[in-house]
Amino acid sequence: MALTTHAAEPVGGTGGLPAGSAAQRTRRRRLGLPPMTAKLATGLIISGAILLFGLLGPFVVQDPTRVDDIGLTGPSSAHLMGTTQTGQDVLAQLAYATRGSLTIGAIVGVLTLLLSGFFGVVGAYAGGWVDEVFSLFTNIMLVIPGLPLVIVISSYVPDKSLWLVALVLSLTGWAGSARVLRGYTLSLRNRDYVLASRVAGEKRWRILTVEILPNLIPLLASQMVFAVIFAILGEAGLSYLGLGASGSISWGTMLYYAQNGLALRLGAWWWFVPPGLLLALFGAALSLINFSIDEIINPKLRNQTRAARRSWLMSRKQLETAKEATL
């Protein structure tokens, strides 16, 4: 009787693939990692490169605020990416701006994770009036419009630090995530395996942290990636409007100064293209990563990908007919 069905197990069809890659795939799945697809690899490489540039760049470039008397010159050997209107080195500015934008993204990502995790997951798990109060609060925060709030705050606080901007962005951005997490937690807390651990006699906090949270990791990761995109774009928007943190450099402030310095009209593309491009690339790379995480959360999506179909050696059409046949 024992394990006789082993050979016929539906382990996700590894047919047609070399054994090494199948084993590797199982290991990745065991660790809860998404399968390494072209999409994910592209996203990881681009965002990794930008991350490295933001981390290490500032150590090798010159002082980004140093003013020179060769304003608005194109790329040259002295200034690889040209200079701004006041003769500042664009490459140096870009390195510091990358660091600034990524810092905002990281702070907001972590704060959003904490806030949405607390109000979404803990509320939904606790249930009863705690859930009622938490979700009422979440809904109120959801409808508070972020931009006007920031404008109001910036008119009261003349000297905004990076942290304040990050705080405001997190406060206006966490509620959406919290709602998504709440919905998923509500469905998890009534799964049979949660009931089974109650029957086994597990404590409530242990059920939450050991049985439920691990199954939330993909969703938490994708919400956090989303929050980082939102924060970097949001900060860029605020800075572009001149409402950003004072005294900091980010992709948004670079664009703001380029706009003020009439870079577009003067044709100084080396001034506004690099920050704009990095902004777009980083957003795109994170979205690619997010798509890959989504495929773990939603197996339906996973079966739609070409990689999955190829591993079954089936065309989309064959798959459809097979599905009809089994239903």
């Binding site: 394990l3 069905t5 197990e9 049979d192 395996y193 086994a200 049985e211 199954n215």
Partner: protein, 269 residues
């Protein structure tokens, strides 16, 4: 040696229908006793309240009225009393695909109840017990199975893991809520026979919830027929199947005209 008694259990669910609230009586005045070594089958159509009874007995829900007694004492709902109760009354869920956590290994599922109820055991001792449990539910090679995750097992194997988990604390009463309804017909009898063997070995009191009159008659000593939250017929297994008195039982029996043939079908498959 545990006797579990349900006395006049009632469970109401409050439904929200628009602005008006309604009450649904899922379980209505149900009493029965589970004794060591005996199997009681609870049969009834979908929605008749069978799983609700299981949830009440496992203290996953509170009864609206009525009492649950264990060895004659009312059950305790918190603290050490609840912990002792959890050790004695265990459950096998219907869907083995949902009742095992996809994130954890088989070993985790079996190790937790052992650790919870015998916190003093050493790590090695716990591991040995896990392997022993797997052996008892005929999942070998045990080391190999212990390291697997649920998605690497078939439905029948998962249900065996679920049974092993229920046995881990050394319970006296086992509640099996449609333990084979999600499994392929060809392996149902194997799982049921395993349950019966374990019951004999441990002298368990079993509540076997099912739709299937044939297996109920074969495995149970007593059958309770449930209809819309009430027990409409009860008695010795053969008696209930062969001479049904209540209308509903008659229709049920008619729907499965020949239990003998059905059982041999199951064996043959």
């Amino acid at each position: 040696m545990t006797t579990l008694t349900a006395e006049h259990l009632v469970k109401n669910y409050h439904l929200r229908r628009g602005l008006r609230g309604g009450t649904l009586r899922a379980v209505d005045d149900v009493s029965f006793t589970l004794e060591p070594g005996r199997t009681v089958a609870l049969v009834g159509q979908s929605g008749s309240g069978k799983s609700t009874i299981a949830k009440l007995l496992l203290q996953l829900e509170r009864p609206t009225a009525g009492r649950i007694l264990i060895d004659g004492e009312p059950v305790q709902r918190r603290g050490g009393g609840l912990s002792r109760y959890r050790r004695t009354v265990q459950m096998v869920f219907q869907d083995p695909f949902a009742s095992l956590n996809p994130y954890h290994t088989v070993e985790h599922h079996l190790e937790r109840p052992i650790r919870l109820h015998q916190p003093k055991l050493s790590r090695d001792e716990v591991h040995r017990r896990v392997l022993h449990l797997l052996e008892r539910v005929r999942l070998t090679p045990t080391e190999n199975v212990a390291a697997r995750r649920p998605h690497q097992l078939s439905g029948g194997q998962r249900q065996r893991v679920a049974i092993a988990r229920a046995l881990a604390p050394g319970p006296g009463v086992l509640i099996a809520d449609e333990p084979v309804s999600m499994l392929d017909v060809s392996i149902r009898l194997g799982v049921l026979n395993l349950l019966a063997t374990l019951q004999r070995e441990e002298d368990l009191g079993v509540l076997y919830i099912t739709h299937d009159l044939a297996t109920a008659r074969h495995f149970a000593d007593e059958i309770l027929v449930m209809y819309r939250g009430r027990i409409v017929e009860r008695g010795d297994a053969d008696e209930v199947i062969l001479r049904p008195r209540h209308e509903y039982t008659k229709t049920l029996a008619a729907a499965a005209p020949n239990p003998e043939r059905r059982l041999s079908e199951l064996r043959g498959g």
